[in-house]
Every structure is written in C-alpha cells, then in structure tokens.
Amino acid sequence: MNAANQQSIPVKVSTARTIEFAIFRHNPYDDTSEPHFEHYELEEADSMTLFIALNEIRAKQAPSLQFDFVCRAGICGSCAMLINGRPGLACRTLVSQLPAKVTLMPLPGFELIGDLSVNTGKWMHGMSERLQTWIHSSEDTNIDAIEAKMAPEKAEQIYELERCIECGCCIAGCGTAQMRPEFVGAVGLNQLARFKIDPRDNRTDAQFYEVVGNEDGVFGCMTMLGCEDFCPKELPLAQQIAYMRRAMAVAGVN
C-alpha cells in the first residue's frame, strides 16, 4: 500500500536541457548530396525517446530527414543506428540517458538508403536465403490431426533463440563483420543454432557444416563479443556461436 503510494509517475523529471544533435546526412540518390553532419538543437522533454526527438526534428527543422521506425516499442528491429558511436535501438533510447551532445549515424555494414536509414531488410533476407533459416522437414503434416508433441522445455529453449529481431546491431557491433562483408555474423549463427536444436528440423550436422563450416561462417568469428554486448534482445550469442563452433568442429573432422 505505502510503497505504491509513494510511486509517482515513473518518468524522468524535466531537466529542460537543450540537446545538440549531430546527424549524419546523405542522400545517395541525389547527385548533389555529399556525406556530412548536420546539427540540430532540441529542447528535451519528459520521457523523450530518440523516436520522438527525430520526428520532432523532421517535422520542424529537417523535412527531408530519413530514418526508420515501425513499432516504436523495441520489438521490430527497424530503428537500429549508431548512437554516439554505439549500435542501439533508437526508439527505446531515452534522451535523458544521453549526454547533451548526441551523434547519430546510420548502422554501418548495410546499404545506405539515406541519412539514418539503411537496408537491413535486404541483408537479412540474403542471410536467410543463404543459411536456409527455415524448418527442413520431409514429413507432410496433416493439419487436421493432433499436433506432434514437443518437450515444454525444448519449446522454451527454441523461443529463447528466436527472439532475435534482425535489427543488425550485432553486425554493426562486430569488427569481423565490418571488415568482412561476407561474414554471416552472430545473427546468422544464432538463427542456425535455433534450427539446429529444433527437433522438427531434419538437417544433419554435415548439412549445417555446408553452410556455416567455413571462414564466412562460424570459423570466421573471432570472438570479439560486440554482438553479444550490443544485442538489444540480450540473446546469448556467444554461447550459441560456441555451440555451433563445437558442433561444426566435430562435423568438420568427421
């Protein structure tokens, strides 16, 4: 009773700072555009996220500013960008947690669409096709019949890995992926691990080896661990890469 009575509205109290934004600007479809930073000032407001801030900047100061938001709730993975140099989801970053100078840059490692907007979708689609991130099963399911059973823990374990939102932070946070564009990255390895532990997927380790048993796959990972530390969903990426590495090492020498 008392404890909750003391609870005031749980948002940051107004500090009325003026935030200085340095935003990367470039429109690759406009021949006259050169990559540069542009500066904008914005009065901070209560519980202002970068989603709110960027929309306000666009509506009042920079009508041509490009950025991507979809869910604005940290679940769709659209809005990853470099916030003061580090990858993160803009929509769930509270301005109050940032210094008064904020630099925003598009996520590196992906095709630039314009300003802060990059084509993560295309990259992820390519990754899915390359790694075949779907259940490979030879059985035909009868959808009228009672479903096949699965251990409850197994289902939870699979979901644990399926929580990836393909935001690309693990690619932007990985030195290997930055240097070597062909590297599948933590996102790919984690997704493949998700299918590997799924009893519905009939692929053998030898088949998995064919797609990730190489230097662009699991053996390309140099354990820099940026992926794990910048993943907004806090997926156990290092653990999954290790799991794939062990399995692929065994598959490789057999």
Binding site: A4, Q7, I9, P10, K12, N27, Y29, D30, T32, S33, D46, S47, T49, A59, P63, S64, Q66, F69, V70, C71, R72, A73, G74, I75, C76, G77, S78, I113, G114, S117, G121, K122, M124, H125, S128, E129, T133, W134, I135, S137, T141, I143, D144, A145, I146, E147, A148, K149, M150, A151, P152, A155, E156, Y159, E162, R163, I165, E166, D198, R200
Partner: protein, 657 residues
C-alpha cells in the same frame, strides 16, 4: 516507368499477406508481395499475447471446441459479425496453429502435473493431464469461456511472423520491400494491380496482376494514442476506398485496448490480465469486480476499456503530469513468471517507463488498438463490388469481428484468412481472372497519381503535412474515442472535413530525388483523412451502442434498427464519404442476438429474434451430435476451400469417445 507483371499481387507482408501468398504459390501460380518494410518488421510481430484456436489440450481448455469458440466470438462481436465467416474461422483456426507448429513456431507446451496459477487474484493449483504433456498449451484471454489462447511466451506474433516469413522465403516467394501501393489499377470493374512508389528511390512503378489482395493491416495511426506501429496508416485500405468502387465495412468499429502504457500508448499484452494481473485505481482498489462481478478484468476489451474510462471520470484515476491513468498490477504473478512468460512486458516497462513490473505498478490507460472495419469482402475475401480485389487480415472486413474482436482472434484471423483467401484467389486465377486492362486506363490512372504528387509542390501551397496529421489524430482521439456523443461526432466530422480541404494545399518543400519523407506525409495525410472521415461519419450515423462503438446519447444496443453493417464508399471526385448499410439476417443466425454475458444487459431486440431463438433451442434440444446440429442451424462447410473441410482432431474428444 518500370512495369512488373504477376499472377497475384499481394499488398502487405504481414501474417495475412504472407500466408495468402504461400497458398497461391502452392497452387502453382506466381504471387508477388509488396511491403512498406521488410516483412518481418510488419506489425504482426507486435502481437504478444497469443492466438486463439480451440485445441483444448490444457486442463483449463479441456472440453473446448469450435462451438465454444464460435459463441465467444459472436458474443464478443456484439452480434455484429458474419456468423458464417466466424464459423469458417473457428473451424480453420486449429489447422492454422498446427500448420504453424509444423513450420516451426515454438508454441508453449503443456507440462504435466501441478502448476501454480493466479486466477481472480488468488493462487490456485491447476493439474495438467499426463496425456496432454507436450501438446500445445493455452492461456486465458478476455471474453472467452475456455483458456484458448495459444502462445509463445509473449512473443507470439514475432514467432509466427518469423516462421511465416521464413516459410515464404523457403517457397521462393518474391517480396519487394520498401514499396508502397498508392493507388489501385482497375478497368471495367476489375482490379488489375497497383501503382506503387519505391520508398528508396521515390520512383513510381506499375504492378499488373490478375488478382490483387490487400493485406495491409490496421489504420490505428489516424488516432493520436494508439498501440499500432507508425506504419499502420491504413494506406492500403484507403486506396481501395479511392477506387470509388470498393467499399469499406463498419469503419466506426474501432477497438481500444485497456492496457496501453501511459502516456506512450505502447501495448502491454492482455496476457498480463489473462495470467492473473489486476487493474487498480488511485487508491489501489481493484475496481473491475465492482462493475463486472463475473468476468472482472477479463470481460471483453470494449467493456473493460469503458469501465476504466468511467472509473477515471468518476474521479478514481491517478493524477499525473500527462493526465490521468490507472494501474496494472502484475507483481502478484511473481518474478519467475514475469521473467519468462512476460519478458517483453518487462522490457517495455524498463525501457519506456523506467520501472520494474515485478516490483512496481504499471501506469495504463486505454489506447486505440484494432480496426474491426476494413475493406468489405465476401466470405471468399473478394470485394463484392470490385472484382479481382481481395483483402485479408486486419485490413479486411469479411466480418468475423463485428463490433469488437476478442484478444487472440486477430493473429488467428490473419493466418486463417491467408489460408482461405489464398485458396480462393487461386480458384479465381484458375477460372476467371485475367489481365485485361487497357494501356489507356493504365496511363490515365498513373497520370492522375503523378498529378497529385506534383500538386504538392505548387508554389501557392502553404500547409504542413505533419501538422495536419497531428490535428487529425487529435480530433480522432478526443472526439471519436471510447465514449462517443452525437455533438462531438458532428464536430469531428466538420473538423476533419476542413482538414481534408487543407490537405489539398499541403506544401512539399523538398524536391530532391529519393524517398522524400515530406512527400510521403503529404499524400498519406489525404488518404488517412478519408479513412478518418469514414470512421467519424459512420460513428455519427450509427445511433446505438454496439461492441466498441459506444454512444452516450444512445447507450443501448438496438438490434431492431441497427443490426446492419455500415458500408462507406468514396465516389470519385466527392469530398466526403457516402454511407449505406447491409442488413444482417437474424433468421439465418446460428446464435441469435442476446446478452453477451458481460456489459450492459439492456437492449432493443430485433423482431425476428424470438422466433429464431425458438428454432435454435429446438435443434439444440435434439439428440443429435454437435456437428449435425450445427449443420442444421447454419451450414458452412461448403463455403470452405476443400483442403480445410476436415474435422479437427482433439484429445478431449478422442479420449471421451
């Protein structure tokens, strides 16, 4: 200009669009999907709580079947739904869950033995059968007689969408991402594709197709406070309206979800209450039992949202800088449950509120959530007026939700509709659909679009697109919200009308190549205003309260005058929508209108109701099995595509027969 030709153009890469495309592809035709965003970012991903399907595996779902699901759905709809469509839906939903299970969705499973659970604020023990161990389990959701909501922790939509999207990739279905359909192409009363704007280069393109399906989701962003994604602007719905031929159904039926976090409007799932969470007021009093002694927090969404607003009006809201709100309390569910089954909820509270829901209360207030209305189609998903135009998912009104949709019935609908409409599109491609649009028709329609886009750059224009959108959103939230009143609605219509005129004078200053966000806002503003006008006008005209549509000046449900579906259309060159109605036939209903079991009991009955009720009672009293009775009351199996007609296997039925 680039022209692309395909068999089936599917606009929308959410659950509905993806599943429809898979259906078309499996029948040997070529589908092509357009999406504003990569399909996996569609708003289907946001569905946390779950998907309803009457598997009846878990102890609390034992004995569930299509009949129970059907009755819940119709009651939820406040008898506004098309009962045949609802029947088709409840029959196909278990198949949809099972198909998804085979494709990889890691549905949470039944764990045999005793479990602690929180029901009605008290801890109870539920014992799961050994036989059910490992089958798909379900949680409780509002407005249902059984625990029927299948789920994947609180990332159900995410898992479903990823599985579906991966399946589409596996089937080699082409998806053109970052493409926006901004007009439909049609000739001789037949839809033949769309005019599409490339959201990377800003170029216009023509997609020609024998059949077109709109699966563009909801249009919640016409409201200021909404749980919807920012892309849910209803452009797909609007372009159907703009043909002047296709019609929109029940646009005034807009759902408000009880638990949007305050003030951001981001949703925390109904699963919070389903799993035992409570609603508290400023004094931390649990108030729902005072209003709804039977269903309490778990009455249908429209009812709970209204009681919350009523409670705030009665002075029990929590005061805050941003206005008033109430509390959601999930602390009693325990850390373990919240950290595993309600993890997204926890993250949302952490990131957007800075609180830990295992220890603190969550500030909530109802927010716009779902559009029951949409492109009117028949049970096959095709527009009755514009041939070759199909619609599925939240964008459509084939009408299984009537005036209020049950939680968990929407993602279920998207997949079921995708399955069914996909088959009917393939049927249409097999029999009648052709590409027969003249090049003059294409040219003139493309030129129209070009002219409109160019018009925003006229030098005499002076309006700002974002300001107009904001003004529209405020009108909708303030005047076409949870409680509605004739006077306010009339004001809303007038204000929207003037905003619509102003939208014609929007100035786009940026002329560089590329996507041009200012231009996007400009053309979308006009389309969104058209939808808003349909919603507000429909709400003003409907002088009764039904489901989510609640008129303070007409508090009763009035079956006598209003058991009918609103149809809005926008005749070419008109500046406002025209509205007509389509009656619902009580005599054909399997479940004649009555009390929902929650909410107000008073209503004005339809004259045919007693007679039909007697017929139904008669049949129900007979000794035949449930299938035979159902068949007698309202045959529907013939309406389903052949692959989905089979009976659903169910453990409870197998064990008991």
């Amino acid at each position: 200009m680039q022209t692309i030709v395909t068999d089936a153009l599917i606009i929308g890469g959410g659950l509905a669009g993806l599943r429809a495309a898979i259906g078309v592809k499996r029948r040997g035709f070529t589908p092509l999907i357009l999406s504003l965003v990569p399909p996996k970012r569609s708003h289907s991903a946001a569905a946390q709580g779950g998907m309803q399907a009457s598997l009846g595996n878990s102890a609390k779902g034992w004995g569930d079947n299509e009949d129970v699901h059907f009755a819940d759905t119709i009651r939820g709809s406040d008898w506004g739904a098309d009962q045949v469509v609802a029947r088709m839906f409840v029959h196909t939903a278990p198949k949809a869950v099972r198909e998804l299970a085979a494709w990889g969705v890691p549905w949470n499973r039944v764990q045999k033995g005793d479990h602690k659970s929180v029901i009605n604020g008290e801890e109870v023990t539920i014992t799961e059968r050994d036989e059910s161990h490992g089958l798909i389990t379900a949680r409780n959701f509002g407005g249902t007689a059984k625990w029927r909501t299948n789920y994947v922790a609180d990332g159900t939509g995410h898992s479903m969408l990823y599985t579906m999207s991966n399946q589409a990739i596996a089937e080699g279905i082409e998806v053109h991402e970052r493409m926006e359909a901004i007009a439909l192409l049609h000739d001789n009363g037949r839809c033949q594709g769309a005019i599409v704007r490339n959201l990377i280069t800003g170029e216009l393109m023509v997609y020609l197709a024998k059949v077109t399906c709109i699966a563009t989701g909801g249009f919640g962003r016409i409201y200021r406070v909404s749980t919807n994604a920012v892309i849910n602007q209803g452009i797909g719905t609007a372009i159907a309206l703009e043909t002047g031929i296709a019609k929109l159904g029940n646009m005034e039926a807009v759902q408000f979800h009880p638990t949007g976090i305050f003030p951001a409007g981001i949703l925390v799932t109904e699963g919070c209450r389903g799993d035992g969470g409570l609603l508290l007021d400023a004094k931390e009093h649990r108030f729902m039992p005072d209003y709804e002694p039977e269903k309490r927090e778990l009455a249908s969404r429209d009812v709970v949202s209204r009681w919350m607003e009523t409670h705030i009006r009665n002075g029990h809201g929590v005061q805050s800088r941003f206005g008033e709100h109430l509390w959601l309390d999930i602390r009693l569910l325990g850390k373990k449950h919240i950290n595993s089954k309600l993890r997204e909820v926890k993250e949302i509270c952490q990131y957007f509120l800075g609180v830990d829901p295992t220890e603190s209360l969550i500030p909530v207030r109802p927010a716009q959530h779902y559009s029951m209305g949409g492109i009117r189609t028949d049970y096959r998903g095709e527009s009755p007026t514009l041939k070759g135009l199909f619609a599925a998912g939240e964008a459509a009104c084939w009408d299984m939700h009537g005036f209020n949709r049950l939680g968990g019935n929407s993602v279920a609908e998207t997949v079921v509709a995708g399955m069914i409409v996909g088959e009917f599109m393939a049927d249409s491609l097999t029999t009648e659909a052709t590409l027969a649009i003249s090049s003059t028709a294409i040219d003139s329609q493309v030129n129209e679009v070009r002219d409109e886009l160019a018009s925003f750059q006229r030098s005499e224009n002076n309006e700002n697109a974002w300001q107009i959108i904001e003004a529209m959103q405020s009108v909708m939230t303030d005047k076409v919200g949870i409680f509605r009143h004739g006077e306010q609605l009339a004001e809303a219509v007038t204000e929207l009308q003037s905003l619509y005129e102003r939208a014609g004078r929007i100035k786009v200053s940026d002329t560089s190549r590329g996507v041009n966000p200012e231009l996007c806002a400009a053309y979308r503003a006009k389309k969104m205003l058209k939808l808003s006008l349909c919603v507000a006008s429909g709400a003003l005209a409907r002088e009764e309260s039904r489901g989510a549509h609640s008129r303070e000046d007409f508090p009763l449900r009035d079956d006598k005058h209003w058991l009918k579906r609103t149809l809005s259309s926008w005749p070419t060159d008109a500046s406002s929508p025209s509205i007509d109605y389509e009656p619902l036939d009580v005599k054909a209903m399997e479940l004649p209108p009555g009390w929902r079991g929650y909410g107000g009991k008073e209503r004005i009955d339809h004259p045919d109701t007693p007679a039909r009720q007697a017929e139904v009672d008669n049949v129900q009293a007979s000794a035949e099995d449930r299938f035979a009775k159902q068949q007698q009351l309202m045959p529907f199996t013939e309406c389903l595509p052949a692959p989905f007609r089979g009976r659903n296997g169910r453990l409870s039925e197998e064990l008991e027969s």
